[in-house]
Amino acid sequence: MDPKILIARRVAQEIEPRSLVNLGIGIPTLVSDYLDEGMGVFFQAENGAVGMGHRPPEGMTDRHLTDAGGRFVSFVPGASTIDSAFSFGLIRGGHLDLTVLGALQVDEKGHLANWMIPGHYTPGMGGAMDLVTGAKKVIIAMQHSAKGKAKIVRECTLPLTSQRRVDLIVTELAVMKPEDDGLHLIERAPNVPLEVILEMTEAKLIHGSDVPEMQLDC
């Protein structure tokens, strides 16, 4: 399975019916493809949409209706539009059930860095700092390493996005959960041996002798 699709399918299992969810750019965007539309989930976008749907067919786009990445989207029945202050009121005010974001680094404490690489590239935080600070639940969806370099590290060396601990980390190799005593490895991707995960992870992973596999066929 394509690693990005595997991550998206695993993250989709975390989404509760009738919840309000914000998906970041990249792998997180794919998550909505693996949800049953009957679940009644509303997707929020920072630029002021509650109830975003898929990209409409060519010829049926509206230049006034885009997601937070500036891509054309549609609305599901029951959608609404809001201004940017209201949008971040939803985010910061505890009304957002879940955000799924990418990361440059995540560490053993569950701290996340995703907005600048000093001296190299400074995209800016956009809405990420508010999302991580305000959402009820934060899931990181990302590739386990970047060009062979560990992204799950002992301590973030890049500037932090928030001091809040994220709730879950999902990669194409594993599912990890930061807790008070450290970072727990709770699932392996299908057919991925424990040793491979440990080798690809700089952070210390707490795990039992038998780490269960992700169940993706539900």
Binding site: W115, G126, D130
Partner: protein
């Protein structure tokens, strides 16, 4: 009532060195006509307050290509290569502000508040040099209001009172910036007779709007 002015007249109101708020999100809900006209006029040393810098040729992009901006206050600039180059070379001074904080700082200026207290940014680089205020045992950053000489607004519809209606996600920062600019200039897609926009659909009352730019239609 307003008499609509031309884009050239609007550009003539904005001097070099002005602080300008520009609405929009990744090029959506941006008054594109006035952006291009400011770039063509070769304005210099602007301080630009905008959520993002979109891409090289969209949203505020033309202002950077024409070297109009000296200081940028925004939340995201990762997809504009001209901005990245000018930031790296030191031509462009940048203040990065979390998006929710940016919009609330603008709103604070517009509604007469002395600042806002937000949990966003506590414990990060964003908190450097800022006052931390404890409220009921929780830490917040004190973030100050953000005002501007001009707010440049895009609307779907405008009447000759200056009432504005927006469309879908092109709303974004527009109604907030319309509160906060000392002079508010709106570039609507259409100008309609007074009474055509139902009162419930007016999101920015015309009392806030100083100038309306003529549409080409």
């Amino acid at each position: 009532m307003h008499l609509a002015i031309s884009i050239d007249e609007a550009v003539g109101l904005i001097p070099d060195g002005a602080t300008v708020m520009l609405s929009g999100f990744m090029g959506v809900g941006v008054p594109d006509g006035i952006v291009h006209a400011l770039a063509d006029a070769g304005k210099k040393n602007l301080t630009l307050i905008s959520n993002d810098t979109a891409r090289d040729t969209t949203g505020p992009g033309p202002l950077f290509a024409a070297h109009c901006v000296r200081k940028l206050i925004c939340s995201h600039m990762g997809l504009n290569t001209i901005v990245q180059a000018q930031f790296a070379s030191g031509e462009l001074e940048v203040e990065l502000v979390p998006q929710g904080t940016l919009v609330e700082r603008i709103r604070a200026a517009g509604v007469g508040l002395g600042g806002i207290l937000t949990p966003t940014g506590v414990g990060t680089k964003v908190a450097e040099g800022k006052e931390i205020v404890e409220v009921d045992g929780k830490s917040f950053l004190l973030e100050k209001p953000l005002t501007a000489d001009f707010a440049l607004i895009a609307a779907r519809s405008c009447d000759y009172v200056g009432n504005l209606a927006y469309m879908l996600t092109a709303t974004n920062f527009n109604p907030i910036m319309a509160l906060a600019g000392k002079t508010v200039i709106c570039e609507p897609e259409e100008i309609v007779p007074v009474g055509m926009i139902p009162p419930d659909l007016v999101k920015t009352p015309g009392v806030l709007v100083d100038h309306v730019i003529k549409t080409s239609a």
